[in-house]
Structures are given as structure tokens and as C-alpha cells.
Symmetry: C2
Subunit: 219 residues, 2 copies
């Protein structure tokens, strides 16, 4: 990784056109050829960037980055304040815990934690507009479509609406009931879900993972 701090101006031409006037910035060049131009503030997103795969051409004080799609990034250097190069090596990578896929797995293994008597028919049940998270049958053998989100917001309810519309059109399933499941269901999402005739359920991630004893649920 090479880190250059320099007074520079930058031009990008590609999916849009963008220009950065002369100022002091960080230019970060990674081992895979990615280039990013950072200011001294504003979260982690760079002002300009170019992702791999691309080619970096350094001609005196003009750096030109080009990729196969025909996008170009041109950096003009006026004064270099610092220039550091270091070999970092491969990164072992990030371990995450607590994302939606995990939540869906846990619910698929224990559909009864959503509603008494609920049985899983299929995970990721396919429709023309995408897969339904969980397709189930309830205690009365009715078809139930379950949408799982980590955070339950309006978009998720819209998604469930579309799936149910599709399921009722495309199949011989007949009436399909909707259930919206999330760790937290936002007030607006509750209102919309109810107005669409869906149940909404909040579940606890730690409970599902079995970190808390099941007995606690009996109370």
C-alpha cells in the first residue's frame, strides 16, 4: 500500500463526470491497484476513487488511472508532502455475527418461535420477483409467507406485499397470509403491516441462538 499526501487536483470521467479543485489530500494506492482520494473528514467514503481492475500510469506529476470499462481518474500533483510505501500482505478477513442470513437460519430451524403451530414448507421459496424468506403452513394448514428482517422498516413490508401478490397470482396456493418478523419493528412498519392485514412479530436474537434458557419463555 502506498500513501501519498499531496496538494493535487483530480478529475473523474465515467459513470458521471466529477472534478476536485486543488487542495491537500491523501492518495491511497492499494496492492490490487485500487486508488482512493481522501479528505481529512467525512466518514470513510473517499472523494474520488477507482476500483480494481485498473491500470495506474505515473507520468511525472500526472497520474492516470484507467479501467476496462473506459472510466478514467486523473490526478495532477502540485506538491508532495509525504510518501510512504508498505507491504501489508493478505488479510485474514472479517468475522461477522448477527446478520439477517443468520436470523433467517435460526427462524427456519424454529418456525414455532414465530407463531404456535407454524411449520416450515421451504426457505427461500422462489417467485418471479425474488425468493420469499420462509414459506410455512400454520396450525390450520393455511399458507403463510414470512419476511425476515434484522430491522423491520417500511421497505420490508412492501417486499412482503409484493411476494404475497405474486404467490396468489402465480400459484395454486390460494389465500396467503403474511407475517413480518424482525428484531425490532419500527412504528411506521407496524402501521403499514397491520393495514395490509399482516401480523408482525419481534424476535430476540439471543433467545433464538439458545443463549437464554427456553424456560424463560414459559412465563
Amino acid at each position: 500500500m502506498r500513501l501519498v499526501i499531496a496538494r493535487c487536483s483530480v478529475d473523474y470521467s465515467g459513470r458521471l463526470d466529477a472534478h476536485l479543485p486543488e487542495a491537500t489530500r491523501l492518495i491511497m494506492v492499494k496492492a490490487d491497484g485500487c486508488v482512493a482520494i481522501h479528505a481529512d473528514g467525512g466518514a470513510y467514503k473517499p472523494l474520488n476513487w477507482m476500483n480494481a481492475p485498473n491500470t495506474l500510469n505515473i507520468d511525472d506529476s500526472t497520474w492516470t488511472v484507467a479501467n476496462p470499462k473506459g472510466e478514467t481518474l486523473t490526478i495532477t500533483l502540485f506538491e508532495v508532502l509525504s510518501d510512504v510505501d508498505a507491504e501489508l500482505g493478505e488479510d485474514p478477513g472479517l468475522q461477522k455475527d448477527g446478520v439477517e442470513a443468520h436470523l433467517q437460519e435460526l427462524l427456519a430451524a424454529r418456525p414455532e418461535s414465530i407463531e404456535d403451530g407454524l411449520r416450515l414448507v421451504r426457505r427461500e421459496y422462489p417467485t418471479a420477483i425474488g425468493p420469499v424468506d420462509l414459506l410455512c403452513r400454520d396450525a390450520d394448514d393455511g399458507v403463510v409467507a414470512v419476511e425476515v428482517k434484522r430491522r423491520g422498516e417500511i421497505d420490508g413490508v412492501e417486499q412482503l406485499s409484493r411476494y404475497i401478490e405474486r404467490l396468489e397470482l402465480d400459484s395454486t396456493l390460494g389465500d396467503v397470509r403474511g407475517v413480518f418478523v424482525a428484531q425490532v419493528v419500527k412504528p411506521q412498519a407496524r402501521v403499514l403491516a397491520e393495514s395490509r392485514g399482516f401480523r408482525w412479530v419481534e424476535v430476540d436474537y439471543d433467545d433464538l441462538r439458545g443463549l437464554r434458557p427456553d424456560e424463560l419463555r414459559l412465563f
Copy 2:
């Protein structure tokens, strides 16, 4: 901005939990207090980060970043290979050209490029749930609501649906026809648009800008 290259391990706890095993990485600390941990590859997104506002506490080889929401990032340093500090100053900011707003302008100036005989009534026509991109009348004087996107995906069709529902409720416009316009309309968006009774149209940004001669369209 402070740039430290070091062998380190990192733990994040907040919206999820994540762990980075010991390896050599870049730690970037910006003037506003943001911290980002970068590997030597993988686009511009850091492996871990913490945005402002937050507090950075450096205690020997353990750095702790905490924000008001209770999220924490803990960095344990094993070996520092490089440590650079520089004053960058304010950035004058990025100038952009070619985003959705621009596309909408061009279409407003030439509604007939969407559909023969289409005339603009108003751009950003207001409704209770937000402005409709273009409100038009067609060759038969029927009301047409146009939603403009750079890339046409399902969300955009949903947005158009909500606007039309509103327009038909709130006004004396009567039936409103929907047209979904984008540079590229994705297959799922096509299906949904058609099932809602909307037309979808793909337009070319360069054509609209007039970079290609109009005569080309005659063939």
C-alpha cells in the same frame, strides 16, 4: 490526518459484532475523529470503521473508539511499522455532473423522447408523499405520471405506484397512467411495472444531451 501502519487486531461491537484477527493493516484517523481500518485491497470500503462523532482513547497499545450510541471499536497494536501525521485543511469539495437530477432536466426539456405526443405539465409535481418527477399529458390528453431513475429497479416502480395512488385520490385528475423511465430497466422491475399496468422506457443519456445527432433517430 494520522496514518498508522501496524500489526493489529480489531473488535467492533455495535449494530453487529465483528472481529479482525492479528495482521498488518492501515489505521486512518481523520481530523473529525473518524477511524478506519484498511487492508491492502478490496475497493475503498474499510474492514472496520467508526464515524464521527466519537471519542478516541489511546492507552499504550490499546486504542478504544466509542460513540454516543454505545458502539465501540477496539484496536490492539502489536507492532507499529509507520506513523505519519499531516495537516490537510478543509476540502473545497466535489463538483458532479450526470446524476439523476440532470437526467430529469433533460427529459423535462424533451418529453417526446419518452413517448410520442407527450407534453410536460410540471416537473416535481407535489403530492402528500413527495413530488412526482414529471407530470405530463399524452397525445389523447390523458394524465401521465413519469418516474425517472438512473437505474430502474423495483424500488422505483413502488415509488411510482404510490404516487399514482395518491394522484388518483387527492386530485381531480381522474385516471393517471404511469411510465417508468431509466437508462437501464432491470428485469424484475419490468415484470413489476407491467403487472401494475405501467409502461417502462429506456433512454440514452448521450442522445438526450444531444451529443449524437437527432437524425440518427430517424432510421
